[in-house]
């Protein structure tokens, strides 16, 4: 559906994108994640054809965004950051304006407006001037504008920024609902957002892709899944630290709190190998009573920080 090849974008002195490539299949809900200034917005602006890249190419439905700009834009619905809308129009007028430019049949327009207003929940505000709407409603009007032509692809730049917690939850639900039928790219620097709405994450950092995959894949690829919390019955004659250190793949063993008859340990293993079986077998072999064994995953937040702080 969307193919991005080796995208480079230079602003006057800054390189905003530095060789970004990815492919997005139909029906995926992809979250661009990254700190402010990482290149998320630039990447979106290039995909929508608003600006062009310094080098590299973008294809949407096998069409080049530069050569077939109009055709590509027909297939995309785009909500820029902060939902910039004409404040002097009402949502109804504005959506009618966008519908006309989207080539929607004029008889069809009122129906479309009612329908999309229902989806994003602005039915009761359709005739109030946009300038007087709250940020949350404006964001919804922006989303309605992006969906009025029922596009195959939706590109949403920070759709929840500036919203209050309740509005954020509502907006996420709307996006999740939309994502069932369409390809969605959204950007955010807010982690719970991607885990709540996306089935794929692309972490962009300093103009490059730092990680790309499902939340699970990213967790296991970046040090998630290599911590084990072990709880065994106390056994005075055994040096637990050196015992567990002997497992191939265990990098570090730390003693945690002990309570009564049990001792807890934290074992750090190498990446990409599950040590749970080895731990269990070692305990059996040494006659230790295993009370608990849990693989602990680094949460995305920590991974995100690790990746983007470097």
């Amino acid at each position: 559906m969307i193919e991005v090849n080796n995208l480079v974008k230079d602003y006057k002195v800054v390189r905003a994108l530095d060789g970004v490539s990815f492919k997005i299949e139909k029906g995926e809900v992809v979250g661009f994640l990254g700190p402010n200034g990482a290149g998320k917005t630039t990447c979106m602006k290039i995909i929508t054809g608003f600006i062009s890249a310094t080098a590299g190419e973008v294809k949407v439905a096998s069409l080049d965004v530069v050569e077939n700009g109009v055709e590509v834009r027909k297939r995309i619905g785009y909500l820029p950051e902060n939902a910039p809308l004409y404040p002097d129009m009402t949502p109804r007028e504005y959506l009618a304006f966008v519908s006309t430019l989207r080539g929607i049949d004029s008889k069809e327009v009122p129906k479309r407006i009612e329908k999309v207003a229902q989806v994003v929940g602005i039915t009761d505000r359709l005739d109030q001037e946009i300038g007087t709407l709250s940020k949350g409603y404006r964001q919804r009007v922006g989303l309605a504008q992006a969906m009025i032509h029922e596009p195959e692809i939706l590109i949403l730049d920070e759709p929840t920024s500036g919203l209050d917690p309740n509005q954020i939850v509502e907006m996420r639900d709307i996006i999740k609902e939309i994502g069932k039928q369409r390809t969605v790219i959204l950007s955010t620097h807010n982690l719970p957002e991607v885990t709540a709405t996306c089935n794929r994450i692309i972490i962009i950092h300093k103009g490059r892709i730092a990680a790309d995959g499902t939340p699970d894949e990213i967790q296991s690829a970046h040090g998630g899944g290599n911590f084990y919390l072990v709880e065994v019955e106390k056994h005075d004659s055994v040096d637990l630290t050196s015992l567990f250190s002997s497992i191939a793949g265990a990098k570090h063993v730390a003693m945690l709190a002990s309570s009564g008859t049990s001792q807890r340990l934290r074992i750090e293993g190498v990446e990409n190998k599950d040590l749970r079986k080895d731990i269990f077998e070692l305990c059996v072999q040494k006659g230790l009573t295993l009370l608990g064994l849990q693989r602990e995953r680094l949460d995305l937040e920590t991974i995100f920080q690790r990746i983007t702080v470097q």
Binding site: I51, P84, Y86, D88, F97, L101
Partner: protein, 246 residues
């Protein structure tokens, strides 16, 4: 193509009347015209005024309009693109399936619609003239046609200035300078007393306007205004699409 231009022009046209700026501009324009008409205030004007020569014509009115337009129309056109850039609404507009040409042409015609409203409100003067005398119809029609062409030229230049910047003030000032230059350039040879500069007249708005306002349609005058409008729109278009340059 046409459908998109009309949609954009309509939106611009209505946007004018949703802000007080439009009403204030039209009000000022009409008041200043009325002052010249009824009180014979001669400043900035050629010696004659309406009744001085006892002729039933609107010459002074048109001349005065020309002057007012150098300030009034840049104020109308300054927002066309600069405001959209500033507010970011440009990003949605230009990612709709419209071409940059449609945007530029649509915006110009939205502003021209506004100009037509302002001109329509001055029709009271020819009506008055017909009521009290027997004016010559040719110069009046020619005058209106000429004023319209000049106005479209100024608006196109204003649109061009608006495409350079996201600051409406800058767009306004640039447009005034260019419009004023093109209006008064025919006075330079006279003022300096250098006859060799007289070819400059050919690029003067007032020179071509007077030619049309005499009621004689000369293709050269029309070609002049059309070229100015097309040139300004072309530059505006280039400046708008420069964001897509590699």
């Amino acid at each position: 193509m046409i459908r998109n231009c009309i949609a954009i022009a309509r939106r611009e046209f209505y946007a004018y009347f949703s802000s007080p700026v439009a009403y204030i501009a039209i009000f000022l324009y009409l008041v200043l015209l009325a002052i010249t008409f009824f009180f014979k205030i001669p400043f900035l004007l050629p010696k004659e005024d309406f009744f001085a020569e006892k002729e039933a014509s609107l010459r002074a009115l048109f001349e005065w309009s020309l002057l007012l337009f150098t300030v009034f129309l840049p104020a109308i056109s300054m927002r066309l693109l600069a405001e959209e850039k500033k507010m970011g609404t440009m990003e949605i507009l230009l990612t709709l399936p419209v071409t940059d040409v449609e945007v530029v042409v649509g915006k110009l015609f939205g502003a021209v619609g506004f100009l037509l409203v302002a001109l329509a409100l001055t029709l009271a003067y020819p009506i008055l003239l017909f009521a009290i005398g027997k004016p010559d119809l040719g110069p009046i029609l020619g005058g209106y046609f000429g004023v319209l062409l000049v106005g479209m030229g100024y608006l196109a230049i204003g649109l061009m200035a608006s495409s350079f910047t996201s600051s409406q003030v800058v767009a306004f000032l640039v447009a005034i300078v260019v419009c004023a230059f093109l209006t008064f350039v025919d006075r330079i040879p006279e003022a300096l007393g250098i006859r060799a500069l007289e070819p400059l007249n050919a690029m003067s708005f007032s020179y071509h306007f007077r030619s049309i306002a005499r009621g004689v349609l000369d293709t050269r005058d029309i070609v002049f205004f059309v070229s100015i409008i097309v040139a300004a729109l072309t530059i505006a278009h280039y400046s708008l699409s420069s964001r897509r340059w590699r």
